[in-house]
Structure formats: structure tokens, C-alpha cells
């Protein structure tokens, strides 16, 4: 299709506008350059590469972040790039900024992880894959074209498969294989669904006028089938019910800093894609409120109830992230500007909570050697600072004051109530009730870790390294925003107010 377009409108003009658009992709270009630098550096130097690799990685992230901030100030409304393949707006810039912060936090976690530090910075492999994942996730937030969505999702997926299997171990190989098979099937089905949509509408561009018109003329059944197939791929990346089964195994087997990245970047990027997809396929033939509502309820409930029985913290957090995927979907469900903002707020808080949680789990793991609940008994007496931070993060994940987790839930459910008040769709009240009652279930397993840390006495003597103060200082940096945003969430929401959620390009 691209080629035919090029022939129509003149190659020269097209190339000119494309090279013009490259400036808007500067952050992504920096990511690619960082990847190349990492690889080249790895090839040239033979020994003691870790400091150099870390320096390149952090410098790349920092520069990319600066560029993203500049972009935030220069872009006001949605802008089509690359002949409509991409759609640059403040929503995507906001998320890109979040992703960069997230990856930085993951790398800091890796540095403080003790043994893992070597794996991460010994050679460039893990870093390159992580940056590749960042690149894919960035493009996911930018895409508004089905082809581009598919490619960026695949970039993220392939990096994820490799990251899961990269470190040695039988369990890891199994998890990576499982991940790959599930992922490949989900992608294939999604691609098939996309081909249906292309067949119906004759365009791959979701923001195209012709797409919007054509979509209303398709009979209900084939359109529904196509949407189910496409949504399958998205839900796989979101890690929501019913395509969540891969995540506990993958989370358990993968090194903690990488899991932290898995649990946030692809998830939020997929959320944005679902948000675009659902809002752009705007036809009364598909009752999106019912669909998303059922998915949200199922994700929250399945995630929470499965998390109750876990014996490993990382598996527990995996199920918790499934439950949170449900909560994030509620923001889409409201179909209102307040819902969009609440969704973004919740997503940002989720990012902070998860990186904080995985950081602390990594610190505990360094002390005990594994991540089972049993080995955490009584550590709170020896590590009071870390254990207190764990408590704050777990309270935030549950969604209780005084943490931003509460604000996130409050705004999401306020938006939901508002849209129930407006259209009275029955599913909304069920989501409301289920969502809030799920919080009670969630409390039960989130409190398990603080409970073991504080209430139990240690089974055997554990030798601790005396790094608690520095661990806690870094941890405080991760956790403090959760408290600050409770008391002054207006600071953050003010930033979001300038985001235009309009998906159409005028």
C-alpha cells in the first residue's frame, strides 16, 4: 500500500516529508544509537567492560529523556508521522518518558543486585535486548497503523523471549519456550485478525477517515471475530485474562530487574494500543463496554485469587500484575476524558509501584538467595528500613491511603461511577463492585510479605551484608513519589491535563 501511495503523491515530496519526520523520532534514534554503541563497545574492548557499558547505557537513557522532555514542550496536538504510520502526541511522549525512567530504575536495581550485576554488565547482550524492548515499547505508543502496531509488538516480544532465556538454567529454558509458543500463537492470531480488518476496510491506518467509515458498514459477526482475534494479541502483551497464563512462569524464572521491565513497559504500551483500538473502532455493533468490562472483572478476580496461593514473591507479583491489568482496563472502560486521565494516572503509579516492589524484592533476594515467602521470615527485625519500604509499596499496591495507589483507584472508580451515571450500562456497576471488593482480596496477599517480615522469627541465622542504609536510600527514592503523589496528586494531574487524548488527526 505504501508503494502505491508513493507513486500517487510523488516520491520526492514523500521522501522530503519523511526525512523531516525523522527529527520527531530523535529519541528513538538515540535508543538505536545506544544499542549500536553498546554492541561496538562490547566488540572492541575485551576486559573490564562493565563500567563502560553502564556509562553508555545511562548516558543514552539520560539523553533520550532530555529529548523526550523537549519533545513534550514542542508537540501540542497529535501529529502524523511517516505517512500516517505513526501518530505522535503527548500521550505517547508521556509514556515514553515513563518507560525511560522505568528502564533506569531497572538498571539501578540490577546494579544493586549483587551477583546479577555481573550478568548485566559483563557483556552487552542483556542491555541491548532491554534497549530493544524500550524501542519496541516506544513505537507501540506511537503506532496508529495496524502494520506498525504488529511490528512494534513483535520487537517487544522477541526481545522478551530472548531476555527470558538468556541466563542459564532449565527452568528458564522452559519458561522461555512457553513464552515463545504462547507469544507466537497470539501474534499469529492477531495478524490474521488484522488481515481481516484490512480486507474489510482497505486500509491499515486506524486514524484514516476511510477506516472509520468502512468499519461501520461491516456486519456484526465478522467484525466481532476480527476484533476478538486482534484483541487476543493485545491482551497477551497486557497480560490480562484470558491470555495471562504465561506470565507467572516467566516472572519466576527471569532475573528480577528484567521482570520489573516486563511487568510495566509492554503492559502500558499494550494498554495504549487497546485504548486506541477500542476508541477508533467506534461502532454500535460492538459493545465495548461489555467486552472490556468482562475482561476487567475476570482479570482482577482471576489475578487476585490466584495470587492468594502463591509461595513465591515473584509469582505473587505476576498474578498481582494480572489483577492490575484489570484495573487499568477499567480506565478505558469509562470512555470519558476523566477515565483516560485516571487510566494514565493509574498507569504511572503502577509503574512506580512495580519498579519499587521489584527493587525491594531484589534486595531481599540478595540477602536470602531466593524469593520464596518462607525465606523472608523475620527479616524485618534485621532490615527495618527495607521492610518499612516494602510495607509502603504493598499498601500502595493494595490501594490504601496514604499512598498514590489509593488516588489511582479513587480516580479510576470515580470516572467509572460518572460514566455509569451517564449511561447506566449494567456492566459498569458490576465492575465497580467487583473492583472494589477485589481490593479486600488483594490486601490478603500483599500483606503476606510484611507479615512474614515483621511478625515471624527467622528460622535460621542469615548472614547479611551491611548495605542496608544505601539500599534503603535508593529504595526511598523509588518509593517516595508514591507518598508524595498521595498528598499532592494535583502536581501530576496538572501535567496530564495538557495531554490531548484526541486520537483523530485534524
Amino acid at each position: 500500500m505504501l508503494i502505491s501511495q508513493l507513486q500517487h503523491s510523488g516520491l520526492k515530496e514523500k521522501l522530503a516529508s519523511t526525512s523531516q519526520d525523522l527529527w520527531a523520532l530523535l529519541p528513538e534514534i538515540v535508543i538505536v544509537s545506544t544499542i549500536i554503541l553498546l554492541v561496538v563497545f562490547d566488540l572492541i574492548f575485551k576486559k573490564n567492560k562493565s563500567i563502560g557499558l553502564a556509562a553508555i547505557a545511562f548516558a543514552g537513557l539520560a539523553y533520550c529523556f532530555v529529548l523526550t522532555i523537549q519533545q513534550w514542550h514542542s508537540v501540542e496536538s497529535s501529529k502524523a508521522l511517516m505517512s500516517g504510520l505513526l501518530n505522535l502526541n503527548r500521550l505517547s511522549i508521556f509514556l515514553k518518558g515513563g518507560f525511560i525512567i522505568g528502564l533506569t530504575m531497572a538498571l539501578i536495581t540490577a546494579i544493586r543486585s549483587g551477583d546479577l550485576q555481573k550478568d548485566f554488565f559483563k557483556s552487552s547482550e542483556i542491555l541491548v535486548m532491554l534497549f530493544g524492548l524500550l524501542l519496541g515499547a516506544s513505537f507501540m505508543t506511537l503506532s496508529s497503523n495496524l502494520l506498525m502496531i504488529y511490528i512494534s509488538i513483535e520487537v517487544v516480544s522477541i526481545c522478551s523471549y530472548i531476555l527470558t532465556g538468556l541466563t542459564k538454567g532449565r527452568k528458564k529454558a522452559e519458561a522461555a519456550m512457553k513464552y515463545l509458543i504462547y507469544g507466537a500463537v497470539a501474534s499469529a492470531i492477531m495478524l490474521y485478525g488484522m488481515s481481516w480488518l484490512y480486507g474489510f476496510t482497505g486500509t491499515l491506518n486506524l486514524t484514516d477517515q476511510s477506516f472509520a467509515i468502512a468499519i461501520t458498514q461491516i456486519p456484526q459477526l465478522p467484525l466481532s471475530i476480527a476484533c476478538v482475534m486482534v484483541m487476543g494479541g493485545f491482551l497477551f502483551k497486557l497480560g490480562a485474562f484470558p491470555l495471562h497464563i504465561w506470565s507467572p512462569d516467566v516472572y519466576e524464572a527471569t532475573p528480577t530487574p528484567i521482570v520489573a521491565v516486563f511487568s510495566v513497559l509492554p503492559k502500558l504500551a499494550a494498554l495504549v494500543i487497546i485504548f486506541k483500538f477500542v476508541n477508533l473502532i467506534n461502532t454500535p455493533l460492538i459493545d465495548w463496554e461489555l467486552w472490556i468490562g468482562i475482561l476487567a472483572i475476570a482479570s482482577m478476580t482471576v489475578g487476585n485469587f490466584s495470587a492468594l496461593w502463591q509461595k513465591d514473591i515473584k509469582r505473587m507479583l505476576a498474578y498481582s500484575s494480572i489483577a492490575h491489568a484489570g484495573f487499568l482496563l477499567v480506565g478505558i472502560l469509562a470512555f470519558s476524558s476523566s477515565g483516560n486521565q485516571a487510566m494514565l494516572f493509574y498507569g504511572s503509579v503502577y509503574l512506580m509501584m512495580n519498579f519499587g516492589a521489584f527493587y525491594l524484592v531484589q534486595i531481599l533476594e540478595r540477602q536470602t538467595g531466593d524469593t520464596s515467602f518462607q525465606s523472608m521470615k523475620g527479616l524485618g527485625i534485621k532490615l527495618p528500613l527495607i521492610a518499612s519500604l516494602v510495607l509502603v509499596v504493598m499498601i500502595a499496591l493494595t490501594g490504601l491511603p496514604p499512598t498514590a495507589g489509593f488516588n489511582g483507584k479513587l480516580y479510576i472508580f470515580s470516572a467509572l461511577w460518572e460514566s455509569y451515571q451517564a449511561d447506566g450500562h449494567d456492566i459498569l456497576i458490576w465492575v465497580f463492585v467487583f473492583g472494589l471488593l477485589n481490593t479486600v482480596v488483594a490486601l490478603f496477599y500483599y500483606l503476606k510479605l510484611p507479615y512474614l517480615l515483621f511478625f515471624k522469627t527467622p528460622q535460621s541465622e542469615i548472614s547479611l551484608d551491611n548495605k542496608e542504609i544505601s539500599d534503603a536510600l535508593v529504595g526511598t527514592l523509588f518509593v517516595l513519589p508514591l507518598l508524595l503523589l498521595f498528598f499532592r496528586s494535583d502536581w501530576f494531574v496538572g501535567l496530564m491535563n495538557s495531554i490531548n487524548f484526541e486520537l483523530w488527526i485534524p
Binding site: S336, S338, P402, E418, Q421, F455, F487, V493
Partner: protein
């Protein structure tokens, strides 16, 4: 003092920070800091109560009725189509909470003195205790629902750890049970809070937003009802006082007073009221949501039991009045028979259970359930006497139950055993202790001269007069009084009278009479119980005007 209430709420918090910052070498300072901090708080509370003018008259839903008000904007932001999201730091007192504030100050200080013997992990204990104190006090004075909810939720976590770390053998189970039960309640309250927020606007802020003067409130209310002021200019509000005024509901919103909106086929306002009722009834606790209470009490250390029975239960009752009854008077009237029935049921059920207990602390816990039934029945009566009685009962029970749990603590400290059957004839061994036990028991069973009598009498007068609940309910409930006399006198007889006997001979030497610290806690309580039993007007004068306007507020729906 301008920020009197803020000082009251935040002094314990500052003390908590001081405790955290004091190095472990000086760990004996922790309890001193705690007692000093809460002592200062109590002094300020007494000062505030003395400044409180009981003659101020105003409607329960107008800010004119409030005293010692502090109101500043906490944060305000626009959230998409939800409009302006504005939360105030808004605290103040009126007749409904002034008594609770005083009670909280007294009981918290006594709890701090009772904590003197805590030896394990002192820093954490006193830090959490002060944190709990701060959130309890905040909960009683907050008048912004968001702020109220923050304090309400924030009580859970310190309490969870205080029971779970320093409690008895089954402490973990009791702590998590307490947390989960109360959290279910707070989720229900949160649901209604979101609903109310979506339905209520702030007429003053809306006036300013729409370009009117702040004084033109009534005009603005009219314009909002007409639809002249559009939704974009309406500033929604968490203000609990505004939520009590029917004119402040956005037309067409879910919880609008005349609204026909239905949830699950029932009027939305009824559902909201029920959610609040259950939410606070769990905290109160009312049968059948009471089962966490005996466990929590039995496992909690003595000072925490004192605080739990003395104040935390009252948060439930106070919340019920402040939110459910004041904001949904129509629904309250509709469900008054139900509330009255559960009150009556709790009185008898709690008393019957108390009769069957072998553990002294469990007996007292069930007697609390029974006595909280009077609060529900008094409220359901919806008469001035009934409501005053309910508030008086909360106040009086706060003092009496604190004393009862201290008494149970005295014996537990000495022998680590609370089984009634393991003791006999203690009067000869511990005569002074027996005197205090007898006073506490008689006060609790409602003997004239003690504060409990006044409260229960007013509740009965109120409910016999009431047109909201049938007369057979108070009639049946009187059997609760007989049962109460039964279990207390029987316990007194089994444990204290007759020949001295204890199960374990080693206890004999440890069963010494009261020490000076115990006197320090028990004597003031006895004096207070007697004073408020003989001069009820001390408290009633403070609350009377508010209760009357509250009753008027309810009365509109009682025709």
C-alpha cells in the same frame, strides 16, 4: 489559638517522629515521650472543649453550626469530564464530635499509661501507638470526606501491627481478621464516598467559578437546579456538611434527594445508606458483623484493648451519625426498623454470649457488643432523647469499657491467665482491686449514679416515644439489662466472693493488690464515670443544640 484542632491532631504525630528519631540507647524515653505528647494533647482538648460554646445554634447541615473551624484547600485539580476535583483540609467541631474528641483524649492518655510495661520493640510500639492516636483524633474532627476517609483507613495499619506483634497466642489470626473485616467496611464507605462526590457540589466554590459572589449561595443553588449553571462550572465537593444539604445535590445525579435513580432495582439512596450502615456497623460492631471483635480483644495487649473498646468502636458510631444519618435522613427513616431491630438483637445476643464466656476478656468484649446495640437503637428511634442517649452511650461506654479492660489487664499481668473458673474469692487477697471491679461492673450494668445508667435510660425513653420503631423493640431490649446484671454479678460471685482459691498455687504470691500506676489509671476513670453519671448536663449541654437540629433534620421524613 487559631489552629487548635490541628495541634490536637498532629502533636501525637510529632511525638511519633521524635520517638522514631530517638536512638535506642534512650529507649526508656519512648514511653515518657508518648505520655507527655498525649498529655499535652489532652490538655489542648480540654481547652478546646472549654472554648466550645454549646449555645451556638445552627442547622446540622450548615457551617454556621461549627466551631474551631480550619479550612484550607489541600489540592484541587481538574480531572477530565469529572470536573474540578477539590479536597480541603477541613476540620471543626460541633455537638456530634466534641464529646468524642474529649473521650479520645482521655482514653488515649490512659492507654499510654497502660503501655508503661511494654518491653519488646518499644520504638515500634510507641511509634505506632502515637500514629494510631493521631489518626483517631483526625477522624473525629475531619469534616471533609476525603480527609475523614484518610484518617479512617490509616487507623487500620497501626492497629494491625499493634495486635499482630504485641498480642497473645493467636495474634496473627486476630490481626488479619480485624484488618479484613474493617477493610470490607471501608470499601463500602469508599463506594458511597465516590458516589457522593459525583453528586454533591460546593455552592460557594461554584458561585465563585460561575462568577457570582460567595454570599449568593442560595441564588447559585437555584441556578444549578434550573440548569442555568452548566456542569463545567460546577465544583464538586467532599465537604461533609454540604453533603448533608439536599440543595447541594446536582440535578440528575445518582444520589439526588428526589432522585429516582435505581441500582439493582432499588433506589440508589437506599443502597448508599445501606452500604454506609454496613460499613460502619462492622466497625461498631453490630451483630452479625461483630465476630472480629472478641478475637481482636482477646489477643490484643491490654492498652490496645482499651483503645479498641474505648474509642475505635465509637468511630463506627460517630461515622454512622455523621455520614449515613445526616446525609441520608430519608433512607435512615426508611430503614429505622431494621436498625432498631439489629440494635435490639445485638443487645440480647451480646448479653447471652457474654453469659456463656469463660474468658474474662471475652466476656467484656461481648458486653461491648451488647452495649453498642443501645447506640443503634437510640439512633433508630430518631428522637432527641434517643440520639442524645446514643451519643451519651458512646461516651459513657468509652470510659467504662476502658476501665473494664484495664481490670482484666490487672489480673492478666499477674498470672497470665484470664479464665474465670481459675479464680475464686479474690476479694480476700486483693480487696482494693475488688472494689474497682465492683464499681466497673455496676457502672457497666447500668446502676443509677453511673454514666451508663443515664445513657441507657435516655435510649429507652427515646425509643418508647419514637414513631420510627415499634414499642416492642425497647421492651424486648430491656431483657438485655437483666442479662447484663446476670453475667456481671455471676462473674463477681465466681471470681471474687467466697473462699480464696486459685488454680495454680504459684499465683498466690503474684496476686498482689493494685499498684500506684494502676491507681493512676483507674481512679480518674471512676471519677469521670461518677461525674458524668451525676451531672449528665456537663456533656448534654454541649451536644444538645446539635442533637436537636440533627433530630429536626431527620424529622422532615418522619411524617
Amino acid at each position: 489559638m487559631v489552629h487548635l484542632l490541628s495541634y490536637i491532631v498532629f502533636i501525637p504525630l510529632v511525638a511519633a517522629l521524635l520517638v522514631l528519631l530517638t536512638p535506642k540507647v534512650y529507649q526508656n524515653l519512648y514511653r515518657v515521650l508518648t505520655v507527655l505528647g498525649l498529655g499535652l494533647t489532652l490538655v489542648l482538648i480540654i481547652f478546646a472543649v472549654s472554648k466550645f460554646d454549646g449555645s451556638v445554634q445552627g442547622a446540622i447541615n450548615s457551617e454556621a453550626n461549627l466551631q474551631l473551624v480550619e479550612k484550607t484547600e489541600w489540592f484541587s485539580m481538574s480531572l477530565g469530564s469529572l470536573g474540578k476535583f477539590s479536597v480541603d483540609y477541613f476540620v471543626g467541631t460541633d455537638g456530634l464530635n466534641v464529646g468524642m474528641l474529649l473521650l479520645a483524649g482521655i482514653v488515649l492518655l490512659i492507654g499510654a499509661i497502660a503501655s508503661w510495661n511494654i518491653k519488646e520493640k518499644q520504638k515500634a510500639y510507641f511509634g505506632l501507638y502515637l500514629l494510631l492516636s493521631s489518626s483517631i483524633l483526625g477522624c473525629f474532627v475531619a469534616l471533609d470526606f476525603f480527609l475523614f476517609y484518610l484518617f479512617f483507613e490509616f487507623m487500620l495499619l497501626p492497629m494491625y501491627f499493634l495486635i499482630g506483634i504485641w498480642g497473645g497466642p493467636r495474634k496473627e489470626y486476630a490481626a488479619i481478621k480485624f484488618f479484613l473485616y474493617t477493610l470490607v467496611g471501608s470499601i463500602l464507605i469508599l463506594i458511597v464516598m465516590i458516589g457522593l462526590y459525583n453528586s454533591v457540589y460546593d455552592p460557594v466554590k461554584t458561585a465563585l467559578e460561575a462568577g457570582y459572589e460567595a454570599s449568593q449561595v442560595e441564588q447559585v443553588q437555584q441556578l444549578v437546579q434550573d440548569g442555568t449553571i452548566k456542569s463545567g462550572q460546577i465544583v464538586k465537593s467532599f465537604n461533609m456538611i454540604h453533603m448533608a444539604d439536599a440543595d447541594n445535590y446536582i440535578p440528575g445525579s445518582f444520589l439526588e434527594k428526589s432522585g429516582l435513580a435505581k441500582i439493582f432495582g432499588q433506589p440508589a439512596r437506599w443502597i448508599a445508606f445501606l452500604a454506609l450502615l454496613i460499613g460502619f456497623a462492622i466497625k461498631l460492631p453490630a451483630v452479625p458483623f461483630h465476630t472480629w471483635l472478641p478475637d481482636a480483644h482477646v489477643e490484643a495487649p491490654t492498652p490496645i484493648s482499651v483503645v479498641l473498646a474505648g474509642i475505635l468502636l465509637k468511630v463506627g458510631g460517630y461515622g454512622l451519625i455523621r455520614t449515613a444519618f445526616v446525609m441520608f435522613p430519608d433512607s435512615a427513616y426508611h430503614y429505622s426498623w431494621l436498625i432498631g431491630f439489629f440494635g435490639m438483637f445485638a443487645i440480647i445476643y451480646g448479653a447471652l454470649n457474654a453469659l456463656a464466656q469463660k474468658d474474662l476478656k471475652k466476656l467484656i468484649a461481648y458486653s461491648s457488643v451488647s452495649h453498642m446495640g443501645f447506640v443503634l437503637m437510640g439512633l433508630a428511634a430518631m428522637t432527641v432523647e434517643g440520639i442524645s442517649g446514643a451519643i451519651y452511650q458512646m461516651y459513657s461506654h468509652g470510659l467504662i469499657s476502658a476501665m473494664l479492660f484495664l481490670i482484666a489487664g490487672v489480673i492478666y499481668d499477674r498470672t497470665h491467665d484470664r479464665m474465670i473458673e481459675n479464680y475464686g474469692g479474690l476479694a480476700s487477697q486483693m480487696p482494693k482491686y475488688t472494689v474497682f471491679v465492683a464499681i466497673a461492673f455496676f457502672a457497666s450494668l447500668g446502676l443509677p449514679g453511673f454514666s451508663g445508667f443515664i445513657a441507657e435510660l435516655m435510649v429507652f425513653i427515646g425509643s418508647f416515644k419514637s414513631s420510627a420503631i415499634p414499642a416492642w423493640m425497647p421492651v424486648v431490649a430491656t431483657t438485655g439489662l437483666v442479662l447484663g446484671a446476670g453475667y456481671y454479678l455471676w462473674t463477681l460471685q465466681r471470681m471474687f466472693f467466697g473462699k480464696f482459691w486459685v488454680k495454680d498455687k504459684n499465683w498466690v504470691n503474684s496476686l498482689t493488690d493494685l499498684n500506684s500506676r494502676e491507681y493512676l489509671m483507674l481512679v480518674p476513670l471512676v471519677i469521670l464515670i461518677l461525674v458524668f453519671g451525676i451531672y449528665p448536663s456537663l456533656l448534654l449541654d454541649l451536644i444538645n443544640n446539635s442533637v436537636e437540629s440533627f433530630a429536626d433534620h431527620l424529622f422532615q421524613f418522619r411524617k
